[in-house]
């Protein structure tokens, strides 16, 4: 998907057949994120979110703003792997996990405060978050990473 005019707020939503605790674990622990987040090993605690590339370099580093397992996580977003992206203002990512009937969770991801980060907005829009969230769903529902 190209040609989109990335805006200051982007919202993505997916239903996942898993408990809120499992969804939370898959978002916050590196052994899970490595399977669906472009190979990134992402560790999130109540203070910071740090993302490492498979070669060990830092892809992203940001403060955790809200940490309320297994329901709500808010963190800063600043991409470090590209100098143009790293020079932009930090934006904000909110994960909301709501349990639904039938063992499902509604996962809503809001990436906002992108006004000062147009290149970041472009890089995460379209296939970016979509690929991450569909990969997360596949991993949790089948136990297997999405074939690339």
């Amino acid at each position: 998907m190209t040609g989109t005019t990335a805006t200051a707020t982007q919202i993505y939503q997916v239903f996942i057949k898993a408990s809120p605790e499992r969804v939370w674990e898959a978002i916050t622990r590196p052994e899970f994120t490595a399977h669906y987040f472009h190979g990134s090993r992402i560790a999130i605690d109540a203070q910071r979110r740090v993302s490492f590339a498979p070669d060990g370099s830092v892809r992203g580093d940001g403060a955790v703003i809200e940490y309320d397992p297994p329901r709500r996580l808010v963190h800063e977003w600043l991409s470090m792997y590209d100098p143009d992206l790293a020079a932009e203002q930090p934006s904000r990512v909110t994960w909301e996990i709501e349990p639904r009937e039938g063992g499902y969770c509604k996962l809503t991801l809001t990436h906002d405060r992108l006004e000062g980060a147009p290149k970041t907005a472009q890089s995460v829009s379209g296939a970016g978050w979509m690929f991450v969230l569909s990969g997360l769903k596949t991993l949790l529902e089948t136990g297997e990473p999405l074939s690339a």
Binding site: M1, T4, T7, T9, Q10, I11, G102, T108, M130, S134
Partner: protein
């Protein structure tokens, strides 16, 4: 609601030209009000609102309140999931080739 049958809602939501047009409009510029969307479609406010509701039920549109306004955002994830489900790594090559062939043939006309 049974989320297993959500694919049906997505296909149904996509099976209408006005609703596809609304998705294209949000793709071009996300986070728009009903008034903004209505101004670009030849249809009553009520009609557009009904179509947006179908898109929202299918998870293709998400709404957020911003002050007194209700903003509509495109959620492309359900379409991606259908893509993942139907176009796997074995068929992607030939599907892309056919899409390319169609484009070339149509450009020749």
């Amino acid at each position: 609601m049974l989320w297993e049958v959500n694919d049906d809602r997505v296909f149904k939501a996509l099976a209408d030209p006005t609703r596809r047009r609304l998705l294209d409009m949000l793709f071009a510029r996300d986070g728009r009000t009903l008034t903004e969307l209505e101004s670009e479609v030849e249809m009553s406010r009520f009609g557009v609102s009904k179509h947006l509701r179908v898109l929202e039920d299918a998870g293709l549109v998400i709404t957020r309140r911003s002050g007194r306004e209700k903003l509509h955002f495109l959620n492309p994830v359900p379409i991606r999931l259908i893509h993942d489900r139907w176009i796997d790594k074995y068929t992607e090559g030939s599907a892309a080739m056919l899409a390319e062939l169609k484009k070339e043939l149509e450009e020749e006309q």
